[in-house]
């Protein structure tokens, strides 16, 4: 399973590196969400600083939908979809590989967005490890849940429009817990932040396990 996951993740990341969809579409989109949200909130520095964690995670959430859609667009053709089913790759390996590739892209995106909110909103992280752990856990959960719902909608003609409707409500706990953990990391309240990690960790574990178990039937149904 792990070997298959590495194979699929390597393939997806190589395709992404060549097509540069994440670089030229997902990243600018996330930065636009940040900037436009800042315009909507007004120029007050205190308002922007208070809203920064929420806006950061909102941008990451929307980008998750785009990255997931892109991950399944790679396999959208009849040939590649059948090819993957006939390849001999364990479906759990396909799930983990796709989730890992999405997670890598999301994590890189978060690094850029982190720089973005530092410059645009003038915020500074006081507890860096807390923000990093929150990001890692949230990214695992976002990628796993995104790939599960991506597979669920992959066979539908309306997959581009149905995916956000399906996945955004499911990801709401990550938005909430991620924002609160980052608020705590910005203000230096470690114990508050750690309590929010206790939501992010089970979310990630549950969706990774569900994906490993259910990806095979989802792939067949698509």
């Amino acid at each position: 399973m792990w070997r298959d996951a590495l194979l699929v993740a390597g393939k997806d990341l190589r395709i992404e590196a060549r097509s540069r969809v994440a670089l030229w579409q997902v990243l600018p989109f996330a930065l636009l969400v940040l900037v436009l949200s800042a315009f909507a909130l007004g120029p007050g520095p205190s308002t922007l600083r208070a809203a920064a964690p929420g806006l950061f995670w909102l941008a990451v959430l929307f980008s998750t939908v785009l990255a997931t859609q892109r991950s399944f667009a790679i396999e959208a053709g009849e040939g590649t979809r059948d090819g993957l089913r006939l390849s001999g790759i364990d479906p759990a390996g396909v799930f983990l590989g796709k989730a890992a590739a999405v997670a890598v892209q999301l994590f890189v995106l978060q690094v850029v967005l982190w720089a973005g909110i530092t410059v645009l909103f003038g915020v500074r992280l006081h507890v860096v490890w807390l923000a990093v752990v929150a990001s890692l856990l949230a990214t695992a959960g976002l990628a796993a849940a995104g790939v599960i719902y991506g597979a669920l909608s992959a066979g539908l003609r309306v997959r581009e429009t149905i995916l956000p409707l399906l996945v955004l409500p499911i990801l709401a706990p990550v938005l909430l817990a991620g924002s609160e953990a980052w608020s705590a990391a910005l203000s230096g309240h470690v114990s508050t932040g750690v309590s929010w990690l206790r939501i992010l960790a089970p979310f990630a574990v549950v969706y990774v396990v569900v994906g490993i178990v259910l990806y095979g039937p989802l792939q067949e149904a698509a």
Binding site: L7, K11, I15, I74, D82, G83, L86, G88
Partner: protein
């Protein structure tokens, strides 16, 4: 020896719709069978059923000794399907596509170069992303992946489509080599003049059933090689 394909009154569904409605067909190891018939006759569905991609709901369906009504996973590992759309990733090069197929099947990557050379995908062509290749060249890359995987059952859906004369001759050689090495080959075609001479038998489908059967033009003596020597021969 078990037949490579053994279908008796096999009914298969594509989604909720019947794709095969009681097919009777047996294909022996080392045999080449061409499936003819008009559009919508069930040729593609027959190949997809044999690949374990469609659900068999009734009748008997065994491929390579595995019951398709149980778990088709083992069958999928041992068949090679070349459908209308080649299973290729546009952004990856020809070599990367074949290497992915070989590594997915847990086969040695040393097969990749030999397979690409066999199909004439050498030099600049092997390093070109397949999205920039012509339809015929893409077909050759997909065939190279099949050659590298050396499946026990070759399923080719209209393999002559989009190929130039030289590649058609190469395809005929590949089919013959696969059959000589003990693999079964089942392929569909709209071009009987090209396809029937390659096959031991031709079957005609109509309405999701096998409606008739004729002898093909292939010389049967060429298929008498045991399957054990097949992998080394093809690789």
């Amino acid at each position: 020896m078990l037949p490579a394909v053994h279908l008796r009154s096999a009914v298969a569904l594509a989604g909720r719709f019947p794709a095969l409605s009681g097919v009777d067909l047996t294909v022996a190891a080392g045999e080449v069978v061409v499936v003819l018939g008009p559009n919508g006759a069930g040729k593609t569905s027959l190949l997809r059923t044999c690949a374990g991609l469609l659900t068999v709901t009734s009748g008997q369906a065994e491929v390579l000794g595995e019951d398709l009504r149980q778990d088709p996973t083992n069958v999928r590992l041992r068949v090679g399907l070349l459908g209308h759309a080649a299973p290729l990733y546009d952004e990856l090069t020809a070599a990367e596509n074949v290497r992915f197929a070989v590594r997915a099947a847990r086969l040695p990557v040393t097969r990749v170069d030999a397979a690409l050379e066999r199909l004439g995908m050498v030099g600049r062509l092997r390093r070109t992303p397949v999205g920039r290749l012509s339809a015929g060249q893409r077909r050759r890359v997909a065939l190279a992946a099949l050659v590298a995987r050396a499946p026990d059952l070759w399923l080719l859906d209209e393999p002559h489509a989009g190929l130039d004369a030289a590649t058609r001759r190469l395809l005929a050689d590949l089919v013959e080599e696969a059959a000589r090495s003990g693999a079964a080959v089942l392929f569909s075609s709209h071009e009987p003049d090209l396809a029937v001479p390659l096959a031991d038998r031709s079957v005609t489908m109509s309405g999701g059933r096998v409606a008739g059967e004729c002898r093909g033009g292939r010389r049967p003596a060429l298929s008498a090689v045991p399957p054990s020597s097949r992998a080394a021969d093809v690789a």
